[in-house]
């Protein structure tokens, strides 16, 4: 399942969706809205995306993971819009026969997602200011 959604992510359902009797291992990653970043306090995040390209890139990442590891099932859901502290912004779930494959594939998917999928977050700092997060720009 590859999905962009404005609704809270049902990570339990995502996890269920990758379970398989062919898999001995399921790894799930959740990104959650953290309050403190390098000493600054966040009160909320806003996520924007280029949806068509983001979905295409997520599908490419799933295909890349399947080419590298014996992935049984994989799912990636990214939330968009306004998120409060503690909310789940992204969920990645992957199942493989063995655990190290699942850990490696899960880490690959979230690492690459952060590099290539056109989604952006805007910080809402506690001082009332807002700021797009654009690594290296």
């Amino acid at each position: 399942m590859i999905q962009l959604t404005h609704l809270p992510i049902d990570f339990a359902a995502l996890t269920e969706s990758v379970r398989s009797t062919q898999a001995g291992a399921v790894v799930v990653f959740l990104g959650t809205v953290r309050e403190m970043t390098q000493g600054r306090q966040t009160v909320a995040l806003d996520y924007d995306a280029y949806p068509e390209m983001a979905e295409a890139k997520l599908k490419e990442l799933e295909a890349e993971a399947r080419a590298k590891w014996p992935v049984i099932e994989a799912g990636i859901v990214h939330r968009l819009g306004h998120l409060e502290l503690g909310d789940v912004s992204v969920a990645v779930a992957v199942s493989c026969p063995h655990r190290h494959q699942a850990f490696d594939a899960g880490r690959f998917l979230i690492d690459r997602l952060k590099e290539v999928v056109p989604i952006w977050k805007k910080e809402n700092w506690s001082d009332g200011s807002t700021e797009w997060v654009h690594p290296g720009s």
Partner: protein, 81 residues
């Protein structure tokens, strides 16, 4: 040739609009598009070199042809996750 760019995140804020109609020379490349954009929206100059250009669902390299495309997008480095 006229074409419409999609803009996202800070690029959209700086342009003040989610799309931007620009005039591109025939056989324009992604490198040309970057220069045209900097002239059209001078406030983008500080981040111009870091902006990413997408043609359809793929990232462009400087030599990628963009003239005549109707699916161009420009945006800063991504920060999802």
């Amino acid at each position: 040739m006229k074409t419409v760019l999609k803009l996202f995140a800070r690029a959209r804020d700086l342009a003040g609009s989610p799309t931007l109609e620009i005039e591109l020379p025939e056989s324009a490349t992604a490198a040309d598009l970057r220069l045209v954009l900097g002239e059209r929206v001078p406030s983008m100059q500080p981040i111009l070199s870091s902006l990413l250009i997408a043609v359809g669902n793929d990232y462009a390299v400087p030599t990628t042809l963009v003239a005549g495309r109707t699916d161009l997008a420009v945006f800063p480095p991504v920060s999802g996750g």
